[in-house]
């Protein structure tokens, strides 16, 4: 298993995974309904603020500043967390982070933990790592619970069970809850309130028993050492406050310099993600206190490809991401394939620029996701920190197709062009030659025009990908340039 989560190893390239996904009518209907609902709500929530453009620009600048001075702010954060009674650990990659967390849990003598919804722990495959070492990790976010009980994988950053409808969720609860703890009530209907109540009763048992909580964080404030978790259910608050020991695994890019910087993100994040004006449960903690909450706090700072990403001039903007998911909800490709096709815990447009940077472009799936976009630009338009996702997608396509400079584990390397692009590379070179030789282009156009009656309606090879579902345009009798020359720019009569 390489650096990141083992959950997705062996994923086929995106087009192959997408081929199956677009034919799954239930999945298509679930995704269409969910993404359009959130998309429209977000648009209304954002339109309410007349300073949205200013907030977006402020968010971009705060993140860029924090990333530029990451070395300084991380040290400041470490000092502040330690001064407040916490312990800070540094993890270069997924394996190191997993080993640290395992050791910390073992030191408590416990064999089960409750988890706050966290992308970082999914990225490193923490649950699987702990399970293999006899430690049971219970997801407590409702959607993560659905995914975990269903033996499934998350398909969305914010709503990991977006691919499931309520009938499927009821079936999962009825079938699986008993194996994990309190069973689902008899005759459970598929109404949202009843499903939520079943999950509530199931989870309450876990909250009251657990001695160790594991979380990520949405933000870390360097000046105060404060961590922030933004969630909607209150289940995160339970995990953050009830256990005796709290372990937070957080990507190093989650840092903001000052408390005041939160002012911007606590406006843009809820409106972009759940379309709420204010987030329902915002938990903030600074180290430990004697009288309340966990008395032991560990912060595991996770790199796992982030400093390599930071070294790339174009790609580093991906580290501004605050995991709101607005880009997923608006993406026409994501809407039709769902998240699983992206082969990463980070799906959709942001995943297509994060995974190939954090993990590299050596696997088939990571080399294919930069192409999983029509470059329509809807993601960039909604991004609350103005990540120009199409720009980074094209940049990563270049890295795959042409190779070039990159940074891997702190060392500058020169990547070779990926295999499987030789024919395309030759075609691009040939067309570049043609397009820099206008006379040759004109000859080619004339040839195509003269032979047009012999052009087939369907074509083999890569062209089949077009003609399987679309007719080809008819080549005209005469290209424009010939008409222009023959008629003196239309001034002479057409003959």
């Amino acid at each position: 298993m390489s650096g990141m989560s083992g959950t997705f190893v062996g994923m086929p390239a995106f087009p192959k995974a997408a081929h199956d996904a677009v034919r799954n009518q239930t999945l298509r209907a679930n995704l269409r309904h969910a993404t359009h609902t959130i998309r429209d709500k977000r648009a209304r929530a954002v339109a309410e603020l007349d300073d949205w453009a200013g907030l977006r620009e402020a968010g971009r600048q705060i993140k860029d500043h924090a990333l530029r001075h990451l070395d300084r702010y991380l040290i400041q954060l470490e000092e502040a967390v330690q001064a407040a009674g916490g312990t800070v650990h540094w993890a270069a990659d997924a394996d190191e982070a997993n080993r640290i967390v395992t050791r910390l849990v073992r030191e408590t003598g416990e064999s089960e933990v409750v988890k706050v919804k966290s992308m970082a722990t999914q990225e490193i495959g923490l649950n699987e790592h702990l399970e293999a070492r006899g430690i049971h990790a219970y997801e407590t976010d409702l959607a993560e619970l659905i995914v975990q009980l269903g033996g499934d994988r998350p398909s969305h950053i914010l709503v990991p069970a977006i691919h499931r409808n309520r009938g499927e969720i009821r079936d999962i609860f009825v079938k699986e809850m008993a194996r994990w703890g309190r069973p689902a009530p008899d005759g459970l209907p598929d109404t949202p309130a009843e499903l939520a109540e079943a999950a509530r009763l199931h989870l309450r048992e876990k909250f009251l028993r657990a001695k160790v909580g594991i979380s990520g964080a949405n933000f870390m404030v360097a000046e105060t050492g404060t961590l922030v978790v933004v969630e909607s259910e209150g289940n995160g608050r339970m995990c953050l406050t009830l256990p005796e020991t709290l372990i937070s695994v957080v990507g190093i890019e989650k840092i903001v310099p000052t408390w005041r910087d939160l002012e911007v993100f606590l406006q843009t994040l809820p409106r972009s993600s759940t379309a709420e004006r204010m987030n329902p449960y915002t938990s903030m903690w600074t180290g430990t206190t004697d009288t309340d909450g966990p008395h032991t706090f560990h912060l595991v700072l996770l790199d796992n490809g982030r400093t390599d990403t930071l070294a790339d001039e174009v790609g580093r903007q991906a580290l501004r991401c605050i995991r709101c998911s607005a880009c997923l909800n608006v993406c026409p490709v994501y809407e039709r394939t769902g998240g699983h096709a992206y082969g990463s815990v980070y799906p959709g447009p942001i995943g297509a620029i994060l995974s190939p940077q954090l993990r590299g472009t050596t696997s088939e799936i990571d080399a294919s996701v930069p192409y999983a976009s029509s470059l329509c630009g809807a993601c960039y338009e909604v991004c609350p920190v103005a990540i120009d996702i199409p720009e980074v997608l094209v940049h990563l396509r270049e890295r795959v197709a042409e190779g070039g400079p990159a940074t891997r584990r702190g060392t500058k390397v020169r990547l070779k062009p990926a295999k499987g692009h030789a024919a395309e590379r030759a075609a691009m070179r040939a067309s570049r030659w043609l397009f820099t030789h206008p006379a040759a282009l004109a000859t080619g156009q004339r040839l195509a025009a003269r032979t047009r009656r012999f052009h087939p309606r369907t074509i083999p090879g890569p062209g089949k990908a077009w003609t399987a579902t679309r007719d080809l345009p008819t080549v005209p009798a005469e290209p424009f340039r010939d008409w222009w020359q023959r008629t003196n720019g239309g001034k002479d009569a057409d003959k």
């Binding site: 995106f14 087009p15 997408a18 081929h19 677009v22 298509r28 001039e313 174009v314 026409p332 490709v333 039709r336 930069p370 192409y371 999983a372 976009s373 029509s374 470059l375 329509c376 630009g377 809807a378 960039y380 338009e381 094209v394 990563l396 396509r397 890295r399 795959v400 197709a401 042409e402 691009m428 067309s431 570049r432 043609l434 397009f435 820099t436 206008p438 282009l441 004109a442 156009q445 195509a448 062209g463 990908a465 077009w466 399987a468 579902t469 679309r470 007719d471 080809l472 345009p473 080549v475 005209p476 005469e478 290209p479 424009f480 340039r481 008409w483 222009w484 020359q485 720019g489 239309g490």
Partner: protein, 258 residues
Amino acid sequence: MTRVALFLTCVNDTLYPDTGRAVVKLLTRLGVDIDFPTTQTCCGQPHYNTGYRHEAEPLARHYSGVFGPGIASGEYDAIITPSGSCAAMVRELYPRMGERARGEGRGDRLAATLAPVIPKTYELTEFLVDVLGVTDVGAYYPHTVTYHPTCHGLRSLGLGDRPTRLLGAVKGLELVELPGAQECCGFGGTFAVKNSDVSSAMGTDKVRNAASTGAEVLCAADNSCLMHIGGTMARLRMGMRPVHIAQILASTEEEPLS
């Protein structure tokens, strides 16, 4: 008198000469003197967007070589292109190519070569509304039309309501709103073949939305998208026509669109 150079684009030159003839007819009617430099080829967009920036660079230099001298000498007031995505390539991505070359230690040469043509390149509807200041171009087109704002026109160039204002002023034309208009049609250049399943699914949804309007014609300002949309319509036997906006705006009572 305003004199412009037409950058028709490689796709239109080869496959859609009627669009080029419509631009010539329309601009001539509006009193614009139009030239077509015959050494023009391709802006390099397919290469750039597929990840072949270094193959796109010679094409950008070629574009600048074809149109730059006429801009510098004052022979041309502007370069007009009937393609939102090719206009966006020049205006948005040529500056980026220059910056990247600089970042790779290759100096300012590419940026300096491309600089003159970048601000002078206009998409057709932009030129009509912003530069000529017209919305009623004296066109006649007695059909029901729905308009698809292509992604680069909408989000890169910010064409806004310019195309629909132009269409709204066409005599006899009934404009009906396209549901989900802002969603991509699924073309995306090489995306259409690299991810053909998703591309086709997007295209099918687009033409179904178009069909739901009851319009006879789906209009857009980019023939690449129309090639994908029209190809999908033809395959699904939709009985709806894809028509470039230039052809509608060029159509008059005396000389209707054939």
